[in-house]
Symmetry: C2
Subunit: 187 residues, 2 copies
Amino acid sequence: MDKFFLTVSQFTDLSADSKQELSSCLEELTLPKGHILVKQDAVCNFLYFIDRGLTRTYYLKDGKDVTDWISDENSFACSIISFITRKPDRRIIELLEPSVLFSVHYNDLESLCSKHHDIENFFRNLVSFGLVQLQQKFDDLHFASALQRYQTLMTTHPTFIQRVPLGMIASYLGITQETLSRIRSQI
Amino acid sequence: MDKFFLTVSQFTDLSADSKQELSSCLEELTLPKGHILVKQDAVCNFLYFIDRGLTRTYYLKDGKDVTDWISDENSFACSIISFITRKPDRRIIELLEPSVLFSVHYNDLESLCSKHHDIENFFRNLVSFGLVQLQQKFDDLHFASALQRYQTLMTTHPTFIQRVPLGMIASYLGITQETLSRIRSQI
DNA sequence: TTGATTTTTTGACAATTATCAAAGGAAATT
DNA sequence: AATTTCCTTTGATAATTGTCAAAAAATCAA
């Protein structure tokens, strides 16, 4: 749980009391590769912190597998739209490696937020950071070539290239795996 | 200011006290078409609420004009990355129509948030909603064809097609204006 | 209204990326 | 070690979209 609170401290300083209450809402999970955290067309009820391992968020678009997001150690994962809107979503979250996670239930998160102002501030900052990250990823997709996008990924997340199969990286970048394979052979 | 608090109430119920303090931090602006709200490579210090009018957020990529976001009545506008990270950004915000806006300074927003728990909750909800919107826009760009993206825009923001020049709509959708013109002639 | 400016459309051609099909490699399981 | 499964590469071809250039249409201002 140390890594969790170290990550939290990058967003906000929590009081001892708030830390205590927050930690009592966390559940530690040790799960195997391939485990499905969030099923298709389900409501995502948990926010996950990744202590060790790797998650992939993806969905099926006309039968094709589209990788939406990849999260590694010391970051958070959830099916954003579903978690926030409380509605089912097509996004599936799976583990790409055996992982150790901490989960918080949506209801606990909301009651922690209304009870503790500093926890509400933490989550505002966390969501704000998520928004910045998504905006940067959006910019990349908006008017950068496939090669540029691959190069951006290599600098921002160099380990993904080792840890994630090429086909998943490709759809994460918005291209087919054949195109990515050809781009790689040209570098 | 009525429209502002009506919009706020869709996210949170604020106490009379909080409303009072928030409204005293708002500044009403009446500005002409073409006015630049945020300059290139500047820090965006204000969050704007659009009472009347239309804003466009764009940037120059290799000399080309790329429309990033369009905001109309009863929504908010700011240069997201800059406003949150407090760093300069290439994004420019201009008015596409003569507009009436309410602005809040970043510093005021932060002090309001630390002073009033309910205002912090409002902004957490606002940022969460922004994240959901951006995720939906991202999905659209990720694996939908140019035609599909245009059709999505026509259903979600039908007025934009009337109010915004085609070239701006095109780059908002991630395509050239020639391609959009051809798509339109096929429908 | 008329000229100037901006916006939109059209055409010809090029570049990028996708699709379909198949072959090679790598990794895991028996 | 052999077999099955998954992952990656390569080739041929097609579809989509971009680029450059110019004309047509709409809008704005004097």
